[in-house]
Symmetry: C2
Subunit: 340 residues, 2 copies
Amino acid sequence: MGKKMGDQTIAFLNKPRIVGNYSIVGKKEGCGPFKDYFHYILKDDLFGESSFEHAERKMLEQAIGCSIKNAGMNINDVDLIVGGDLLNQIISTSFTARYFDRPFLGIYGACSTMAESLAIGATFVDGKYLNNVVCATGTHFSTAERQYRFPLELGNQRPPTSQWTVTGAGSTVLRLADEGHMITKATLGKVTDYGIKDANNMGAAMAPAAMSTLISHFKDTKTSPDDYDLILTGDLGKLGSEILMDLMEHNGYKLGKNYNDCGQMMYNNNQKTFQGGSGCGCSAAIFNSFILKKLDEGVYKNVLYAATGALLSTLSTQQGDSIPGICHAVVIERDSKVGE
Amino acid sequence: MGKKMGDQTIAFLNKPRIVGNYSIVGKKEGCGPFKDYFHYILKDDLFGESSFEHAERKMLEQAIGCSIKNAGMNINDVDLIVGGDLLNQIISTSFTARYFDRPFLGIYGACSTMAESLAIGATFVDGKYLNNVVCATGTHFSTAERQYRFPLELGNQRPPTSQWTVTGAGSTVLRLADEGHMITKATLGKVTDYGIKDANNMGAAMAPAAMSTLISHFKDTKTSPDDYDLILTGDLGKLGSEILMDLMEHNGYKLGKNYNDCGQMMYNNNQKTFQGGSGCGCSAAIFNSFILKKLDEGVYKNVLYAATGALLSTLSTQQGDSIPGICHAVVIERDSKVGE
């Protein structure tokens, strides 16, 4: 049973549990700081497929399939798969869902998709509409580059404000259970637009959305940044994270050492990704590996995971529109029984 | 509070009510059989905008805004807008949501979007997570043609199996209330693929998904086609509807005179649309005008609305993939107090 808190937040009183998770990333991501946390690292980014698009599907298939296995379930136990991706008409997730032959709700929140799927999935589970819900998303550097920017073959130079779309996928299984970290709240984001038009500066476009959702969350739940062991934005990257910290400070909220950003975290400095990682797969892979592991270990007791998305298309950019952003946030609380 | 029924269906025990609705269509649709039912008919398809894409947004904006007004609310009462559209990265709905500045969940179910948004919206309302949820979608013939097929300026010949993407939008407001037709059940669809590869024959690609969801619905709810005053598929068109009736009959279910399809219904025979209408806006506009009006009048007491979507992209077609389909269904029961 749910409860509305303030303007944009809902509380899940039955506290859906995370009972399974899986992360898979590409070769480059597997050379970054979290290489020991990901469940699987591709040897090459085609993953044995004939196209990068098919490789993206295969990553999602493995992430969903293995998260279900890790939850001790089989596919027939799954009541719903909810997810999406960055490709036009979310073909990666739709085609992957076809393989599993279970009910599917397609969503699109750009790089906020992991948090959006957790918010929707938690609602179905918390309200006892469904028992087992899988939340998943993924991206591939090479499919995103050729769809949003240029074919890789052109060898275009990347501007210093750009981010690197993560090759990776993550999947989380939710259920009402006696054990598992809990999704206790979700803050549903508004579309926010500060008029940024540079499609190579996503961090700047998304930072205002992150600010909007974080401030609403703190107001709705009567909490402050200090109440969380970790506040984790999706993929603002280095520049975007700095903009967010500035914007928050101007509004009277100081994001301190407990703040980090998945885009900023994903790669080592010598990996030449400029502002860091981006794409649905970025925070999906880090959330479903490092973050849940640190909750297991008790390093974090509660995490505010706020994934951010830039809601542009190549056409909206060509038509001169600015880039709106959105940010959905979920709170994950540690189950102290896990990892003991 | 919810209840899972069988394999794919959920029952909404608090019965969310339809408290506001609005439909808007293009000039061609306004010359069809439902011209007296739509709330607004465009005088020209650019709707005073500089591009068809901006016209699509403006239709959605009017549909959402007026449905909120029809519900006797103002925008600040809205807890959530849930919707999507056919354009890449669902820019029409995202940009429209920006205008309203309320929480937004973007979804993608191709032409099944209206039913998908009603299923998700009803869950949030039924479980008392949120009070007022707006469900909306729309499409525009001229934006869909140039994205999925050819620029209109080329004047390409249309094959006889093709459908005509409807210029139109629809919006529904849900709330727990004492009055209003009720959403009582939702059957969440599986992605179904019979290997159809002809992107000009969407009806054939989507009919198996409609069959899958309808049969699951009847089994889950222990009902038969005769239990509904109207079984309404989204936009299979004429050919797709015939295929569905055949498929159902082979499985022991006879769809009789209480079956119809929004694609088949949208245009008059002399309007040269071949198999009829398609696009999210097709069933969204008919549902939010004619269907709700006939529920008001008591012509229908219960309606099984099963919207169908084809989950292809231009890229999946170019890479030789087949066209998976999906179908989500919701049951609407008449409130006999309405219209009296």
